[in-house]
């Protein structure tokens, strides 16, 4: 499998997971949190699949395509370790879906981030909310879900907030 094949497979799996999750939360109220906006392609996909739903996008800096980012009140820039607790303090555990695409090439940094993010997510999402993460998480209120679609191993980790 070439790196082009692998890239297409990864993006297609990402789309399948997003499509599943957006359908699964249809009856669950609350905003979506896009943690790691990046280029904005997944934000754009979430926006298309969830018309009318508030989507907050978090990132360290704004590197998004001009057509793929939310208007100012929904674009939250800064370190996740600051912006996410601030959001929880203001809004409470309201999110219906949290999509976390936060990993970098630094495995040790990813593991540290996943540890504190795991503890933070239950303060952001309501019971029944779905968490999609590119990093393996661990917390007593994060129940691992079986991927509903064929995705490359360790590409996505799916949880429900209990």
């Amino acid at each position: 499998m070439s790196r082009l094949d692998s890239f297409i497979r990864r993006l297609t799996a990402q789309r399948s997971v997003l499509d599943w999750a957006t359908a699964a939360i249809a009856a669950l109220p609350g905003p979506v949190l896009e943690v790691g906006l990046g280029n904005g392609r997944t934000f754009d996909h979430l926006r298309e699949k969830l018309p009318g739903r508030d989507i907050y996008a978090f990132d360290r800096a704004d590197n998004a395509h001009p057509l793929s980012k939310p208007p100012a009140p929904f674009l939250v820039l800064g370190e996740f370790s600051v912006t996410l607790p601030a959001f929880a303090a203001t809004h409470g555990a309201v999110a219906a879906l949290l999509h976390c695409d936060t990993g970098s090439g630094d495995a040790a940094a990813n593991a540290r981030q996943a540890a504190w993010l795991s503890g933070l997510l239950p303060s952001l999402g309501r019971p029944g909310a779905i968490v999609l993460s590119d990093q393996r998480l661990g917390h007593e209120r994060l129940q691992l879900l079986q991927a509903p679609v064929d995705i490359p191993p360790d590409r996505y980790f799916l949880y429900s907030i209990t």
Copy 2:
């Protein structure tokens, strides 16, 4: 169609075109010229589809993934306007396949580049060689081919060197 959908569609079309072209040149000797290496994903795909075939990759600078670039003699860094004529002078019109992914966000610069690239390609590829280009080209020895697969309009232009 979200930007994620559009991106997947574009990459899938790219792969389909590469798969078609690599099969189409099976009986035509000569190296492949990858003009615009970038990340190296398409180089990796070409290498996988054409084992044993020399592939020269050209780019202004080396931004490729470590696993997706050719060894030194096949990696040619510098301005295309210098490296491609130099290749033609050394090797002659030997290539069987030329994949040109050279466009930037600057439409005027792309048009200028496509103009002189059009004139240069017949000095690089043998008669019957296939040219895949992300830019529309024009030269009496470049015969436009109908795309053999469903690709987004204006994403790829296919030519045969007459």
